[in-house]
Symmetry: C2
Subunit: 228 residues, 2 copies
């Protein structure tokens, strides 16, 4: 058994959410116990890797038997500090923003949508679940009042930098940015970019056969990549 402070690598940490998702799927269809090979099947990763990742969190399985699904979900969730709920704000209530808001309102549990902002007078005041779209001018104030921990930016690219600065001013330290632009924020904040065009370009690079880009291994095995 390792001390809890010796933690998993960043690469492994990025896979843990995927394990939780697959475990919940399995639990939902009545599976109570899994072995590393079952999980490999469900996630598209290697059994090797899953065992190594999980073993870093603690001795979660029984040798010769496998892992208890419920127990494993709990252990990983605890490790990821998912017992709590994160307060999330959405900035930009266009088509994409509305789609994400709809997802957030139903997915519940780990993330709660706590505020929605837009700059268009036409949208301000619109209802989103039991929230109301507010003016972007109120971002710093509302972020502080509601103790928003994560901002999701879905504005047009030119507006993104400005609202990101307001969000940081409001004390936010986690930003999920869907605008196709590199945000410049202080080191107190972490930005994760999700850009459709970049994803598509990266994907098109991976076109298999006709061997491109050195050798048969075509993709770095990451949580969001599956090569089979």
């Amino acid at each position: 058994m390792k001390p809890d402070s010796v933690s998993v690598s960043p690469a492994a940490a990025a896979r843990l959410p995927l394990y939780i998702r697959s475990l919940k799927e399995l639990a939902h269809s009545g599976v109570e116990q899994v072995c590393s090979r079952d999980l490999a099947e469900a996630t598209g990763l290697e059994a090797h890797q899953i065992r190594k990742d999980l073993s870093r969190i603690g001795n979660l399985g029984k040798r010769g038997v496998g892992y208890q699904v419920d127990g494993l979900i709990d252990e990983i969730s605890t490790y990821l500090r998912l017992s709590r709920t994160w307060r999330v704000a959405l900035i930009g209530y266009g088509r994409l923003g509305a789609a994400l808001a709809a997802h957030l309102l139903v997915s519940g549990e780990n993330f709660r949508l706590a505020a929605v902002f837009d700059c268009s007078a036409r949208k301000i005041g619109a209802r989103v679940g039991d929230l109301e779209v507010m003016s972007w001018k109120r971002i710093p104030q509302v972020f502080r009042e509601c103790a928003i921990e994560m901002a999701i930016i879905t504005t047009p690219p030119l507006a993104a930098q400005g609202v990101a600065e307001l969000a940081v001013e409001g004390g936010v330290r986690l930003i999920l940015n869907f605008a196709p632009i590199s945000l410049n924020v202080p080191t107190t904040a972490v930005v994760r970019n999700v850009d459709l065009a970049t994803e598509m370009l990266a994907l098109s690079l991976q076109l298999p056969s006709k061997k491109r880009l050195r050798g048969p291994r075509i993709a770095r095995p990451t949580a969001s990549w599956a090569s089979a």
Copy 2:
């Protein structure tokens, strides 16, 4: 100068789209020449890494001077085989699908939306740009006829596996999956998953200060991560 076949690593390849995006931004604001430090600033990566990545493609810069912005864009685009346009189909015309379709219709250039599918009779026949939403039953046939190269899946999770199989049957080898489920497809196809919940979980792990997950390095420097 290296032979063209000795290619960049997968990790570097994943960063190239980001370089193109930043270079286009710079070109748009009138910048004609950049040095590796400028690009580092624009992308949030390290100058070291940018020089190394670019040098693998060829001798693109002038020592003591830097890189020509236009020339660099061309070189990277050529390297990534971006002279051509990919034919893309969207499967699932809900809120998210509609938002993505709108982006695709304007972004043009490297990707062209060539077909849209849904399973709901209410949506079939709706116009999307100059396309018409078709029944999912026609996926294999239309994929072959239009020689679709990339499928974007935005269906509910339970439908995703089925439409992915139809898409593969239609000959597609690149799948961008927004449904929160692990798709099971033959090795002839590559799947890239983009899942809001997973992205948010991975992001929340990176909450800075209060040092979590070993040491000061909080994120694997990937194209889509910026820690400052």
